[in-house]
């Protein structure tokens, strides 16, 4: 689906999650900021892991060699 498209999907999910958190339970500015930070951190970590695995498989240097009896 392409690197950029999926990255955009992650961004959209992050924005939606933060908006949901703000809309459904608004608990004061300092706690809101904490929640936003946590959501952004979580989305960043998840995106980083996905991106690393995707990039590693974009132009691979070795190919799978099946073992005997597969």
């Amino acid at each position: 689906m392409g690197f950029l498209v999926t990255t955009l999907i992650f961004v959209v999910v992050g924005v939606v999650a933060s908006l949901c958190a703000r809309i459904c339970c608004d608990v004061g500015p300092s706690t809101n900021l904490l929640r936003l930070t946590l959501i952004v951190t979580a989305i960043s970590c998840c995106w980083m892991m996905w991106a690393i695995v995707y990039l590693a498989q974009m132009k691979p240097l070795i190919v799978p060699i099946l073992s005997e009896g597969e």
């Binding site: 900021l33 970590c45 980083m48 892991m49 590693a56 691979p60 060699i65």
Partner: protein
């Protein structure tokens, strides 16, 4: 974190202030009680140099300890009687402590008396039982012996002309009408002896009296309750005939030594049945008395049980209040108590309300005064956590409590700790198991939080939200690694690889080729089980570990920037933060860049070679290891930057600190006079620092150590993140082995029993090794990565925690 946004919750400690409370004596007790309910003030011990006996309220504490002892005695008695105190006790109106003391005293006296009486009655009952047995057995014996004797007598009489009547008793003491001198004066003793000692008893009797006794023993069929020990013991009835005073004394002493209870026996046949019926009557009477006594005791304990919890709480509260009151210092006028304590700034209003209420409720003439003190002392650190964040905060605090108002790593730990755990644990099947396990705890949260759990269960329950996050992230990373109990699935589309030719004959020699775009989400499912799986995955995971590690370390250094900005420490920003960022990123940030470029371009450059030769021969041509144009120049620039940043970190800061110190203390050649204020004792603790010494050599060495630690640590910490790769590899290999060599092997036999055995072994191995051991292992390593590699970039952690005086805490302590 900046001027743009409000301060973030949990990021820094709540602002704390030192307050001084002046409380009139008559409302002191109530004030402390209300403050304890509030739970937001940490009292300082102003009487630290006094021993517990010198303190003002030592007598009251002793009273409370006495009451606590009485309550413990009641609890013990209730446990013995099998009564449990009701959890929700009927809360009568606030019982006065003095009344309670009197009441407890009365109840204790009554209970002790009932117990003593009960003991006595039980003992008497047992003795009567034994007496009854003795009467029966010995009576039988005498009866049998007499009938034999009369039969013999009759025989003798039938042979000769006997003058004695049949009724002549066999044995009688000196009251025989016939020739006294010819009478053998035999006496007898009877009683019970424990069966195990009976042989020894017989032997010693025999030896002591030189064989001049006649002993008869019979066993008692059922065990008898011994009056002294109150246990059931097997006993024998013994009957010993002796002659002479001396023998009698010896036998008495031997009986005492063997704890053989003696009972009297009247050989008069007619009286025997009378005696037995009397004994029986006494027994029944005693039984009813004992039963009545037990019922009375039961009722008493029941009434105690209803109010036990409430009394217990009250006594504990009183004790806590008096301990706190002991920490306050008595003013010279003896009319008020002075106390100092730490409280959060936001709680000032609440504390003032509590003080006013206490003054009003105790009808004091003067209200309490609260004033804020200025001090140079470091306040305690207070984070307002809820049930979700408290577990993560505890993890951080276990290493060191944050210094007052420094950045709290706990904020990021809430996400990064479960994430790094999941990187090492990645298997969405195992993740689902963990999720189900923790959901059990979460669903029954309310019920379990009131119960008393075992040690390990308590720990798991306390960390239930941590485990929840760990499980959720594990499911995500499991989907990325594409492992469900080590089995890959094609969930996100077809695999990117296919055979070269239609008949796939090259698949096991040269391998497949990439026919489509990369698999959209995660590791391609075709890799599992191939011969090149490990080289591919190892390369991927090692590079991933480096990238994640460099990212987390950069976050740490950025947090140190925010700390420096908050504490307005410009020196730290220019001469610590910036050179540290430059050093780390020109080396390991550059390595991360190379990794990403290599992946993006598919180049075959050898990154080890590039990095090592960047240092060894920076001017050499890169040749086929070139990844992008201008790389040579960039490497030279980065190398120079890294070399420059080391003295940048080391040298300027000590000199600047020295200059700052001199500027601060320029006009302070004279020391100030000590001003005397009301709270004389208090002054000592405040001005502890007074005139600081500035040792240049010390500061320089400190900076040198810090620099070396950072420079060497940059390499070692980055390498340390490779444990993410190592544990992830171990987990996936173990999982693969259990699946293939246990489950698939058992499946291959086509036998139901072997399959069931295989499934059981697979489940046991998965739970024991993967779900328990691997979880603990990954937990520990993720924790280490946070405590060492992340926190040593910015965290000082030498603060102390805020422990307010609160009754909630006390309730848990005592159990």
């Amino acid at each position: 974190m900046g001027g743009c946004c409000p301060p973030m919750d949990l990021m820094r400690s709540e602002p704390m202030q030192l307050v001084q409370l002046i409380i009139p004596i008559e409302s002191a007790h109530l004030t402390v009680s209300y403050l304890g309910d509030l739970g937001l003030l940490q009292f300082k011990d102003l009487n630290a140099d006094k021993s517990p006996f010198q303190r003002t309220y030592a007598a009251q504490i002793k009273k409370c300890a006495e009451m606590a002892r009485k309550l413990r005695f009641f609890k013990e008695q209730m446990n013995k009687a099998g009564i449990t105190p009701s959890i929700k006790s009927i809360s009568r109106a606030d019982t006065n402590v003095d009344d309670l003391e009197i009441k407890l005293g009365e109840l204790e006296a009554e209970l002790v008396e009932i117990n003593a009486n009960g003991e006595k009655l039980q003992r008497a009952y047992s003795e009567l039982m034994e007496s009854k047995i003795v009467l029966q057995k010995v009576g039988d014996f005498f009866h049998v012996a007499q009938s034999r004797a009369t039969a013999r007598q009759r025989e003798i009489e039938s042979e000769s002309t006997g003058e004695d009547s049949i009724d002549t008793p066999l044995l009688r003491d000196q009251e025989m009408a016939a020739d006294p001198s010819k009478q053998i004066k035999l006496g007898f003793l009877c009683g019970l002896v424990p069966r195990e000692k009976s042989m020894a008893f017989e032997r010693i009797l025999f030896r002591a009296t030189r064989g001049n006794v006649f002993l008869k023993q019979t066993e008692v069929e059922e065990p008898v309750v011994d009056p002294a020990s109150r246990e059931k013991v097997e006993k024998n009835v013994f009957l010993v005939f002796y002659s002479g005073e001396r023998a009698k004394n010896k036998i008495l002493k031997i009986c005492d030594a063997f704890a053989a209870n003696r009972y009297s026996f009247n050989e008069d046949l007619g009286k025997q049945s009378q005696v037995i019926s009397e004994v029986q009557r006494s027994l029944t009477e005693l039984k009813t008395t004992i039963d009545a006594g037990l019922v009375h005791r039961g009722n008493l304990l029941q009434t105690i049980g209803e109010q036990f919890e409430q009394w217990n709480q009250l006594v504990r509260k009183e004790k806590a209040i008096y301990h706190t009151l002991n920490m306050l210092s008595l003013d010279v006028t003896k009319k008020c108590l002075v106390s100092e304590g730490w409280c959060p700034v936001f709680a000032t209003k609440q504390i003032q309300d509590a003080l006013q209420r206490a003054a009003f409720d105790s009808n004091a003439q003067v209200g309490a005064i609260i004033q804020v003190l200025q001090t140079k002392e470091m306040p305690p650190t207070y984070f307002q956590t809820n049930k979700f964040t408290s577990a993560f905060q505890e993890i951080v605090d276990a290493y060191g409590v944050a210094k007052y108002q420094e950045a709290n790593p706990g904020v990021y730990t809430i996400v990064t700790f479960p994430f790094l755990f999941a990187v090492m644990f990645g298997d969405w099947g195992h993740g689902i198991c963990l999720l189900l396990a923790t959901l059990v705890f979460l669903v029954r949260e309310k019920k379990l939080s009131g119960q008393k759990l075992g040690d390990i269960t308590e720990m798991i329950f306390g960390g239930r939200y941590v485990i929840l996050m760990m499980a959720l992230f594990s499911i995500y990373t499991g989907l990325i690694y594409n492992e469900f109990f080590s089995v890959p699935f094609e969930l996100f589309g077809p695999s990117a690889y296919a055979c070269r030719d239609l008949d796939c004959k090259d698949a096991t020699t040269v391998g497949l080729i990439k026919v489509r775009d990369a698999y959209p989400f995660g590791v391609d499912p075709v890799w599992h089980g191939t011969r090149t799986e490990l080289p591919f995955l190892n390369s991927l995971k090692m590079k991933m570990s480096i990238l994640l590690g460099v990212a987390q370390m950069n976050l740490g250094i950025i947090l140190s920037y925010f700390n420096a900005k908050f504490f307005k420490n410009g020196v730290n920003i220019w001469f610590q933060f910036i050179p540290q960022m430059i050093f780390l990123n020109s080396l390991f940030g550059y390595l991360s860049l190379l990794i990403i470029v290599k992946w993006a371009t598919g180049s075959q450059a050898d990154l080890y070679h590039v990095m090592i030769y960047m240092f060894l021969s920076p001017t050499e041509d890169l040749g086929e290891n070139r990844l992008f144009p201008g790389q040579d120049k960039l490497q030279l620039v980065l190398l120079l930057l890294a070399l420059v940043s080391v003295p940048w970190m080391l040298l300027p800061k000590p000199f600047l600190l020295k200059k700052q110190h001199e500027e601060r203390h320029q006009g302070h050649s004279y020391t100030q006079l000590e001003t005397t204020e009301e709270s004389f004792q208090v002054e000592q603790s405040h001005d502890s620092h007074g005139h600081e010494e500035f040792q240049f050599s010390e500061v320089f060495v400190h900076q040198l150590i810090h620099t070396i630690e950072f420079v060497l640590g940059a390499v070692s910490n980055t390498a340390s993140y490779l444990r993410l790769w190592a544990l992830s590899l171990a987990h996936s290999e173990l999982s693969s082995v259990f699946y293939e060599k246990v489950l698939m092997l058992a499946w291959g036999f086509n036998n139901l029993i072997i399959l069931i055995v295989g499934i059981i072994v697979f489940i046991a191995a998965t739970v024991g090794v993967l779900l328990v051991m691997e979880t603990l292992s990954a937990f520990l390593h993720a924790l280490r990565l946070h405590w060492v590699e992340f926190q040593n970039k910015f965290y000082e952690g030498d603060g102390y925690k805020f422990f307010p005086f609160s009754f909630v805490v006390i309730g848990d302590e005592d159990e």
